[in-house]
Amino acid sequence: MNADELMPALGQATGETVQMVFWSALLTLILGLPLGVLLVIADRGGLVPVPPVKALLGGVVNVGRSLPFIVLMVAILPFTRLVTGTTIGTVAAIVPLTLGAVPFYARLVETALRGVDREVVEAAQAMGASRLRVIGRVMLPEALPGLVAGLTVTIVALIGYSAMAGAIGGGGLGDLAIRYGYQRFDTAVMVVTVVLLVVVVQVVQSVGDLVARRLSHK
């Protein structure tokens, strides 16, 4: 691949990676955050202790976490088709990416929320705050730095997963590296995509760290 072909190909692949990661990260946040909250409040000693619910959700999360992403991706192909109408392409890749990342992020949310001082939660209850207020105005704001750090880790993981999603025609930088750099022995493409991936991950991690630090007042 010469430079004239490489630049547009790189541009398109980067766009696809960003699209996949952005949408799956957004969906992961929307689904994983409440799931993480449920894991904490439904636990024994939580705000709304329902241990069977916690056990059930914890089990589902563990199943999701134990499947290798590439297996999960193939295993849920029927579901992907049901949701998006297709099993190939960038949009179709968002489904397995999201399903793979939600349990991962939910566990990180759970850990961040468990780090919130128990005394602070009790203090809010002692002031007559409702459970919803305790969650929304105390637990989540107090855990915010941890929630942001967790989201950063999740996005980085999604960038990695998105390369595998290339295998089902998801496109993106990983797909480009495999098809040109590996299968056609085009070392230049391989080097450029690897460098680009490293740069993207670095940027995401740095921004995430910066935001988390800014939010932390401990």
Binding site: E119, A124, A126, G128, A129, V138, E142, H217
Partner: protein
Amino acid sequence: MIHVSGLRKVYGNGVVALDGVDLDVREGEIFGVLGQSGAGKSTLLRCVNLLERPTAGTVTVDGRELTTLGQAELRRARQGIGMIHQHFALLSSRTVAGNVAFPLEVAGVPRTRRAARVRELLELVGLADKASARPAQLSGGQKQRVGIARALAAGPKVLLSDEATSALDPGTTQSILALLKRLNAELGLTIMLITHEMHVIKAICDSVAIMRDGRIAEAGTVAELVARPGSLLTREIFPLPEPAPSGTVTLTFAGRADEPVISGLVRRFEVDVNVLGGSLEELGGRTVGRLRVRLDGGDRAGALAYLRGRGVLVEEAGPEEISAESAGGTGTAEPIEAAGVVEEAR
């Protein structure tokens, strides 16, 4: 103001934290609950605002029986009960002003009135200049002042204090206690505090309950308990070796420690008075002292009658106590070993 009756708390693992507690905190007083860790005092306090649901018994605060209230009513009732905590329990995600505003948000006070009330409260606790600081930037004493301002924000009649000075150094402890005393006097605030530190009781409490093994071992006003023979409070405030060696007399001067009682004793009854140990304390504005002496020669019975006549509480050590002590002791003949006790010169 706070009435607790027949309170029991048994945890799921079978541990009995409260074993039938009855308690009355009068309006406008500072009521201290003293006890070792594990005595159940923390559970007791947490039962007063129902952070902990008692297994049995009732809790009434300001005329409302909390134990019968539903969730929504309980939340409203809790807005009238402030609480401060050992580790301050401030929201690290909010500024000082934001922390104090929290209970106002809970109470539904509109934003515009919140700001004014927050300023007023921060001035009350002497932190007006720290409104936009973060809790992490404050010292322990300042954090507890924020905690106090926050606890008072919704205008409660009752303040619960959960070991509020236990994490502070002695100087800061004194200033926080002084602040609590001032709020008690100026706002008519009823304060129920728990502590394992006797000096907190001595410094500000009007009444005290001593807890042991989930029960109230002794309760009453500080003045009452000090004047009661053999009270636990007196023994703890004025530590003397127990049991008292035989032949000795323990004298408690409740509010008369500044009179020359002892020298009068020596002159009138010609007894030799040997002071074995003792101490003086300021309690609720009165000087109270406890003295252990040995009286020899002269008119001993007359001397004791004279002391009783002067309002001194006289406790005579019986001879059986010494035998119990030497039987259980290490065999040394030295009856008094505790630090701070003056040894009898022979």
